[in-house]
Assembly symmetry: C2
Homo-oligomer: 112 residues x 2
């Protein structure tokens, strides 16, 4: 199998600014947060926290705020006692599904 140098769609670097994408999904916890919300649906704060091994509240909060800022997740607050906050993937994030699936296939392939 040979590498054909001039294959679209990523041939034109200027059209696909990887640094921008890296900013969106960079950060130690963003990929895992997105993966969970995209493939497993809505989660409450502590549900996320429990599923993500090693993350602290402070860090999780920061990354969630950043993702919200970038329009990748939505945050729904219920004015109750005790408080309830639900996080979901936005359509923009859900559209990343293909990318995650490609990542996943690649990863499995590397192991074998």
């Amino acid at each position: 199998m040979t590498l054909k140098p001039n294959i679209e769609p990523s041939t034109d670097t200027s059209l696909c600014p990887m640094p921008e994408i890296a900013k969106l999904i960079g950060g130690k916890w963003k990929l895992i947060v997105l993966q969970i919300l995209i493939f497993h649906g809505m989660h409450r704060f502590n549900e996320l926290r429990r599923k993500i091994d090693g993350v602290t509240q402070a860090m999780l909060t920061k990354q969630l705020r950043a993702l919200e800022q970038d329009g990748l997740i939505s945050r729904k607050i219920y004015p109750e006692v005790p408080p309830r906050v639900e996080y979901s993937a936005t359509q923009k994030a859900i559209d990343l599904r293909e990318m995650f699936e490609a990542m996943h296939r690649w990863w499995l392939n590397q192991q074998g």
Copy 2:
């Protein structure tokens, strides 16, 4: 179109450790370096440098070493004067093509 919560293949988080992947392709210049080498074939050091806006020699060198360490690129040295070093994507990196294409489609979709 609705989000179906229980769709493979990324359902089992433990099988797809995003933090590991983030380590491989994280870093400010790695994605762009990989994209260039994967889709545009072999490059010499200064060719890469010219194509990547804003990167310094030191940073490019570091990221290239890290990528080499992770088996994503190969480095071929020609014992000549002046020295020549060629960087190429390994098969492992070339297999990331699908992921890059998914990223690219997603990015274009966001703009429109």
